[in-house]
Symmetry: none
Subunit: 460 residues, 2 copies
């Protein structure tokens, strides 16, 4: 199923100020079921995801409520919510064990019995059969639902969801596992809302949003480049957020006329991307690795990686991208110096003279990666990710990154390297180093001087 | 103030299963106020923090409720919660701007007026004076509170909190900023609970918790192995949760006598770990890669990786662990077949005859990784992570994993491989494949037959 592609993708996309939503045509309530939530063992991220999705469609969520695995309390919440809201989305409590009580509670609230849904039973039996297993007896309960409910197929797990009109509200019940919830939301709630919006003009207000992701400059550099586009009174409205070293620019266009909203959004995006230049990775959830793979495909280039301190993170990131096999030859994780020498032909004397974390070693690794792989491009990373291993001259966070490229005509290999001092802990340093490496590759391919990548750079 | 030390530290300490908490001496409700929460712009982490803190003191949180910045809705929630619970903790809506309405809503619910608290006014004026600023007029509202409330000083910001007995409940109101909330919780709620516990022996129970993480069996296999240890009436009480392929067993011991609670917990953990056997990775937040590195260090073994479909994920995971350089020689990401042949000496004829995703190729990769790295152990992974590349004979999720080992005495290299069919999308398949590979390595090192790792396995 195509939906599975999105199973693990959380987008919290569309930031909708509330003033106009108080007058929204539809109000929602979100219920989350589970002891692990009311006991604080798990932070509820599902409700925020659902609220953001609804807000982007002009639907105001009035309440989130989290309830323990207690059938009476859940049944009361069903009754309350279905009287208070037009749309009720419920997550959790659909598992096969004794403490999963959402089905029973909905039946109690509706005053009906639980009945077996044969299609769901077949799907669950099939799920186990596909794995060469007999369905355990306890999973049978997952095929049951209150009489009158419609089952929602689960493309990622065993528990089907449920949909039913009860009292004032349309109720959707989904599993609490985020990947299953996301898939089911797209499969069942989105089509329902689209249908409603088509029928009710009041739901057809147009709020369009878009996010532009950048890497290579700080937040204030970005704000300076954007200038008056960031005026708070402007529509489309623009704001910046920082996450994992990326600076994202969020744009929101709200107009009565859908065409105007789209045209204004497009115009603002074009202006912003022009002002921001090559630090732009892409829009929405486009990752650095996806942008890099796209560029490699467009240039018919192939890439090899040679990693020391990042330990395979760059290769892992690139191969996250479906279809990367067309441009990624492979890579080396040369953690030990002997591996650098034996596998990438880095002369031991070079390591002894300059240290493994040095410009000559980074360049030699990049050179070796091209020679050994036959790729047209390479990137090499050697540095100190910590927590140990830092010295006064080379503190934790010192990272050399080299780019290697083979001249197609002459076959000559050229290498160039830059030094970064990256902040943070081991995990952050490795993450930022991998991002710097991938952005350097993009700059190199686009013919942009590497020094324009200012993030973490220090002249040497 | 000493409290400030903890301003940014979230601890989710004591995992308390709910069964006995249903009979807890005190019940709590947590209310979170704010448009940013019901719109999904911000994930509510405060409620989980507060619930965990309360659970560790034997107090059951019955509900979380999140409410928009709407005075009537907040007032209704105050009325409802103070009738339903003994303790109500409210976060948010205490700022100086027009959309901060928690004070007004509490006054409305209590049927009293807002009055100025002179001490709070002096504190807020002083807060600004200390920063060489005049207090803006709009901050005056922060010194106001419903008549009858006690102000709680704010050691981190301007908004004081409030405490009041109303209806059945003791109500505490704190700012929504996590650092201010944490400080105020320790400053006001904890002393109140300690005082109650001193007066009411029923609140002086000891609750100790521990989590055991496993990989290699399904949730129902784990339940079967644990048998009557999972009886819902048992103390210590045991429950299981699944996340990212790991099955975790949560244990909670609750007794009046602290020594008895510890002894019973220890005994139950020992029993559980004995019944579960080698699938146990470790306790609490111990990761698979940390457990593997620990085992490699203990056995003075060194490891090399040869990855195709996981594209460096195993190497990346192992090098996540600080200190892994002592056991990790390095690895290859042989994405292209030419790299498998040139770098790992996999005969091209083998790939042509059996395909790159096959037992002989996996074993040959493991063999090459040992030969080329000099490591004592190797792991090789070749499979189809999707979304493309699947066939009827080898569908997406088909993964061969081989272990290679060098006999220390004779120098001979032995290899062995297993086939897995892993469910999910590309990201999940890669994640589970990496975990299978690392768990296979652990089983191999511990001398456990690889077939005991049943997760995703299918006989061939």
């Amino acid at each position: 199923m195509k939906l599975l592609v999105h199973c693990n993708h959380i987008d919290a996309p569309h930031i909708t100020p509330i003033a106009s939503l108080y007058n929204a045509a539809m109000h929602a309530i979100i219920l989350s079921i589970g002891d692990e939530l009311v006991l604080g063992q798990t932070v509820d991220t599902n409700s925020a995801y659902l609220s953001a999705q609804l807000a982007s469609r002009g639907i105001m969520t009035r309440f989130h409520q989290t309830i323990a695995d207690d059938q009476d309390a859940i049944a009361q919440a069903f009754t309350w919510a279905s009287n208070e809201a037009d749309l009720v989305i419920v997550t959790g409590g659909l598992g096969p064990t004794e403490d999963d009580l959402t089905r029973q509670a909905l039946a109690q609230a509706m005053g009906v019995e639980l009945v077996v849904d044969e299609e769901s039973l077949a799907a669950i039996t099939g799920y186990f059969a596909k794995r060469n297993r007999i369905m355990p007896d306890r999973n049978r309960i997952q095929a049951m639902q209150p009489r009158g409910c419609k089952a929602i197929p689960n493309s990622c797990g065993t528990a089907p969801g449920m949909q039913v009109q009860f009292s004032r509200a349309m109720i959707f019940v989904t599993p609490g596992v985020p990947s299953e919830l996301f898939a089911m939301f797209r499969l069942s709630v989105v089509p329902y809302l689209d249908e409603l919006a088509a029928a009710q003009p009041a739901l057809r207000r147009t709020i369009l949003t878009q996010k532009i992701n950048t890497f290579g400059l700080g937040e204030s550099d970005i704000a300076e480049k954007l200038g008056e586009l960031m005026d708070r009174k402007r529509n489309p409205l623009m704001g910046t957020t920082v996450s994992d070293g990326l600076v994202s620019v969020r744009i929101r266009s709200e107009f009565d006329d859908p065409q105007k909203a789209q045209a204004e959004l497009d115009y603002t995006i074009t202006q912003a991307e022009r002002l921001l230049g090559p630090v732009v990775i892409g829009r929405e959830s486009q990752t650095m690795q996806a942008a890099l793979v796209e560029l490699l495909l467009a240039k018919k280039a192939t890439l090899a990686t040679a990693e020391s301190c990042t330990g395979g993170l760059v290769a892992k990131s690139i191969t996250d991208v479906a279809g990367s096999s067309a441009v990624f030859a492979g890579g080396w994780v040369t953690y030990a110096n002997e591996m650098k020498a034996a596998q990438l032909n880095v002369p031991m004397s070079l390591i002894e003279k300059h240290g493994a974390v040095s410009k000559p070693v980074a360049r030699s690794m990049a050179q070796g990666a091209i020679e050994k792989s036959g790729a047209t491009l390479s990137v090499a990373i050697t540095g100190i990710a910590g927590p140990g291993g830092g010295t006064e001259a080379k503190p934790v966070g010192t990272i050399w990154i080299a780019i290697g490229s083979r001249d197609q005509a002459t076959g000559t290999i050229a290498t160039d390297a830059r030094l970064y001092y990256l902040p943070g802990d081991r995990e952050q340093i490795r993450d930022r180093a991998a991002k710097c490496a991938m952005q350097m590759l993009r700059f190199h391919i686009m013919g942009i001087p590497l020094d324009e990548l200012r993030w973490g750079r220090k002249q040497k």
